[in-house]
Each structure stands twice: as structure tokens, then as C-alpha cells.
């Protein structure tokens, strides 16, 4: 009869030990892996909410290869229709169809919000793995979630501190708080909905909230998403940007 408690103890240990063995760095690696994809194509709706209740809607179509190449085009509203962004590594270009002009977003422009929203161009160009620039520290854990604090001493990062709440089961970030120097919270990113695509779960509705301006947020709702798409070789070139 004593064998039963022993088996229960062994079972408990076998479940708990691997979980405890997960270090903060390992969780971030898993997160990077979960969020990374070789290639994808999507259409999405971006809602930019300004204080006072004004909502503006932007429908867009994008093609992405890893975290290095991306090409995005606005489909709506008419004012923005045809405006395209090209990302190649850490560089970002924007093409304005009405003026038929392209400019590289750099310097002070990188800090600006896309369409005045809460996602900056700097956020768009970020491509390296979090562990390359941050040190990870596990600061909290429950049965279902784990909280990691990322801290960077690299002066080039947009946010020296990032607190990430990860769903243990799906390895999806439930909530990220990006903070500036002095740990001052700047913005919060919340996953509102996820969707299963084959064998992977991916966030399809995300909200970025400003923690500096009251009642200001930007939401991304992915309407369609296809992973593992093969794009022609010249997809992510300036020629295609200005076509």
C-alpha cells in the first residue's frame, strides 16, 4: 500500500522538476521560437484610438519573411491607400504613391508612431532575438503563467526594461509592459485573442496601450493569416516597394 504515495510523489516530482528547470532565458527562447515564423502573409485591421474617442481604421496587407524582411501596404482608407513600408533588417523605407516618393525612416522619425498610433517605427524595425540585447530574470510564476523581467544595458534599445507575462501552455505573451529609463512604464501590449493555425497558436488581436497618455491605444486585428508562403525573390526590394 505504501507504493501508491511513493508513485504519487515520483509523479509530482516528474511534473514539477522540468517546469522548475525552465530558466527565464529558456522561457524567452521558447517565446521567440513560438512567435517566430519562416514566412507569412496577412491582412489586418489597425484601429488607432485617440483621447476623446476618435477612432481611425487602417486596413493593411503584409508579407513577412522571418524577422528580417517585411513589405506592408495600406488598402484603406483612401488617404493612405497604396502607401507601402519595406523592412530589410533594421532599415525601413516608406513609399508615398501620390507623391511617387520613397524615404527612409531614420533618426528622429523612428520614434514616431505609425499613423500616430502607439506602435513606433522603431518597434517595427526591431528584429533581433530578445536574448541578444536583454538579460532575463524570472520574477513571478503561477500554475499557468510565468513573469519574466528583461533588462538591457544596451543604449540602443527602445525600452531598457520589459516585463513579460507568458502563458505557460501556449507560450504566448499575455501582457508586455515596456518601460524606459528609471523603469517608467511607457506602453503595454496585451494579447486579446489567439487563433490556432495548424499546429501553432498565434495572437490575432493585440492592443498597445499608451501608459503616458490616458485613453490612447492601438489595436491590431489579423483578419487573415497564412504561414509558410513562398514569395518571389524580388518581393522585398525597393523595386517592389515603388512598383
Amino acid at each position: 500500500m505504501k507504493i501508491i504515495p511513493i508513485i504519487l510523489i515520483l509523479l509530482t516530482i516528474s511534473i514539477i522538476l522540468p517546469c522548475q528547470a525552465q530558466t527565464a532565458a529558456e522561457w524567452i527562447e521558447k517565446l521567440d521560437k513560438q512567435m517566430f515564423y519562416q514566412s507569412a502573409e496577412y491582412t489586418a485591421l489597425m484601429t488607432v484610438h485617440s483621447p476623446g474617442g476618435t477612432d481611425r481604421y487602417f486596413r493593411m496587407q503584409g508579407k513577412v519573411v522571418g524577422d528580417q524582411f517585411a513589405l506592408m501596404e495600406y488598402l484603406d482608407p483612401p488617404r493612405q491607400r497604396g502607401t507601402r513600408y519595406l523592412k530589410r533588417d533594421d532599415n525601413l523605407w516608406i513609399y508615398f504613391p501620390r507623391q511617387d516618393r520613397t524615404m527612409q525612416i531614420q533618426g528622429h522619425m523612428l520614434r514616431k508612431g505609425v499613423q500616430g498610433g502607439d506602435m513606433s517605427f522603431e518597434d517595427m524595425t526591431e528584429s533581433s532575438s530578445l536574448l541578444e540585447k536583454y538579460e532575463a530574470l524570472l520574477i513571478g510564476e503561477t500554475d499557468t503563467t510565468v513573469t519574466i523581467m528583461l533588462e538591457s544595458h544596451d543604449m540602443t534599445v527602445s525600452y531598457p526594461f520589459r516585463e513579460i507575462l507568458i502563458d505557460k501552455r501556449t507560450v504566448i505573451p499575455i501582457r508586455i509592459v515596456n518601460s524606459g529609463v528609471g523603469r517608467m512604464p511607457i506602453k503595454e501590449i496585451i494579447t486579446l485573442a489567439t487563433k490556432r493555425f495548424g499546429d501553432r497558436i498565434y495572437p490575432v488581436s493585440t492592443e498597445i496601450r499608451s501608459l503616458l497618455v490616458k485613453d490612447k491605444w492601438t489595436r491590431f486585428d489579423i483578419e487573415e493569416m497564412k504561414f509558410g508562403v513562398n514569395f518571389p525573390e524580388d518581393t522585398f526590394t525597393k523595386k517592389m516597394l515603388e512598383r
Partner: protein
Amino acid sequence: MNLMRLSLRNARRHPRRMLLTGLAVGIAVAAVTFMDAYVKGFTESILETFVQLEAGHIKIVPLEAADRSRPLPLEKGIKQISEIVSIAKSTPGITDVSPRIRFPVLLERGSSSIPALGIALSPSREKRLMSIDELVTEGSAPSDSAWDVALGFKLAEKLGIGIGDELFMVTTDSYGGLGPGLYRVTGIIRTGVGYIDKKTFYVPLLAGQEQLYMDDMAMEVVCRVEDGLDGAKPVAERLNEDLKKAGRSDVVALPWQEQGTLYRMMATAKIVGPVIMLLLGLIALTTVVNTVLMSVMERTREIGMLRALGFERGTIVKLLLGESLVIGIAGTFFGLVLGLAVSLLLQHTGIDFSGAMENIEWPMKPILYPDPSVMTAVKAAIFGLILTLVAAWYPARKAVKLAPAEALRSN
């Protein structure tokens, strides 16, 4: 009459001393004449440029902007601007109304950026306000409906562009997004005002509104008043009442005197004139006092004799004051001639402050023209004469206080 002749004869007894004193009075009067003409020219120039390029006679701004020295962000601009324009147009006393948008932008040239200030306005509405046609020295002013731009000549030089070239810019629109604009250079502006020539460009209001995502919006509405500068205050009050009646309490009409700190600065500049006049007066006063005092001390016996002969104290005071007045009149005349000659010469050639003004963001032309007038001459003449009389008063009073017997005994 005899007393005057006697004063004149006494004044000529020491020609060198008279010359020195007269010169002191003359230089003070010349300096006062020039200073008055200079301050007048300075304030008129700055006011004219300020009203033309910045303020108009009246400016309607968002209520929030009234007490701010820094410009408001574009999203806080005036909405339903056409309504504001029609209210202003129907206010009695207002002849011209024009909305404007001022927006900062970094203009790209190769890998470097040049900070600039864009002003979107309607050139046809500005004919009697900014008169942009007059500012354009090469090419033509932008037209209301095209994507034209006229820019300061130094800015054009920095950007390496000229008439007919394209100017592409991306700025932050009223929603915080990117606002692109592709303009064709139609005009080069040369105002002489440092910051206009160096960093300002003008685009049509419609194009600016589209670029900045500001449909039926503007940052300010500039008005011209029929009665000119003096009529601005009462008309602004009337306009504010009309705006309130129409439910537009989100904006306020400010006459030019209440816009920014310039008016206060001009008031300060007006104080500088009298202060300098006072300082110069004090310097000249000490010289005249010294001369008359010496003259009195040398002539103590003579004064005693006059007293013994029956001259009254008042007569002796008048005699000494008369002597000073003779010197004062001569010095004042000399000072007026000198001061007016210098002022008139500089009124013609101007005083060039280009080097010093280059980096000063004032609506002020770098060449200042003193503006002498009849009043300038009258003020300086009164100053010179009063100065000499005041300076002579103390020595004259001191002289007559001596008893005749005591005065006769002195060496």
C-alpha cells in the same frame, strides 16, 4: 533787454569755458536727438514687420494658445475654420481675414536635416496682410490651388534648390502620422528678416491642410482692421463678442498688443530713450554746474559790487541764468544740427545689424533707419534749455546768498 545784453557779454568773457560747456550741452542734445530718432525708427520697424509677418492687426487663436509662448500641437488647431472666417468677415471694421497654419518640419538634404518652419496660407487672401507677392523677389508667389512653395533665399541655398525645382517633405500630421508633400518652387523670398530668409517657407493653405490632415482647420486666423493699428483693440473686443454669440468660445481674438511679448519689449525700448536722456543730462549737468560755479566763484567781488550798487538778488539770479541760457542756446543749436544731421544721414543709409541679427528670431529687419521728426527736434531743444537752466540754478542761488560786504572783502 539790458540784462540779456549783459548776460551775453559776460558769457563771452571766457570763450574757452563757454565753448567747453556749450560742447557738453551740444553733445548731450545731439545724443538725445539721435536716440529719439533711433528708438522711433526701431519700434516702427519692428512693429511694421511684426504686424505684417506675424500678428496682423488681430489674430484669432485657440483659447489654449492665448497664454502660451510655445505653439500648440496641430491636433489642437481651430476646427470649422470657415465658420470663424465668416464671423470675422461680418464683424464691422475688419477688412481682410486669412487662416494660417504654422508647422515645423525637418527638410532632408542628403543625409542631413535642416529644421524649417512652414506657413500654409492663402496668397490671394493675404494680399493686404502678409503681402506675400511683395516678399517674393525672384519668381512668383504660390497660387491658392497648386502645390507651390516660396521659400527664404538662405533656406533655398542650403537645400540647393531654385525656381522650378521640387521640394519633397514629410512632416507630422495633425493625427501624429506622416504627412508627405511634394511642392514645386515658384518663388524665392528675401525679407531681410533673419529667420524668415533662413528657415521659412510658404505653401498654399489648401495644400498645407491636405498634407497636415487638417481639413477645414487652421492654427490661427489673421485679420486686418480698417482703422489700422489704433483700431485693433476695439474691433477685437467686438469680434470676441461675435464669436461668443456664435458659440465659438474655443477661440479668442487678440489685438496685436496682446500677442506674445513683443509689445512689452517695445514698451521697454520706449523707456530706454528717456533713461539715456536722463543719463546724458546728468553728465552735461555736472559740466554746466561746474562752469557756472567757477564763474560765480571768480566773480564773487563783482557780484558783491552789484549787490552794493543796489542790484536785487532776483536780478543777479536772472543775470547768471541768462549767461547759462546763452551757452545753452548755442549748445542746443549745435547739438540739434549735429544730431539731426547724423540721424538724417543714417535715415538715408541705415544702420546694418545683419551680423548680429542673423540668429535672432525677431520679426525685425537687419537694417534700421532712424526716423527723426519735428517732435524729435522740439524734445531735444527743450531738453537742452532745461538742462542748462537747471544746471545754473544752484550756483546762482549760492552767489546771491553772500552778503555784499563779505563778497567785497573776498579775493
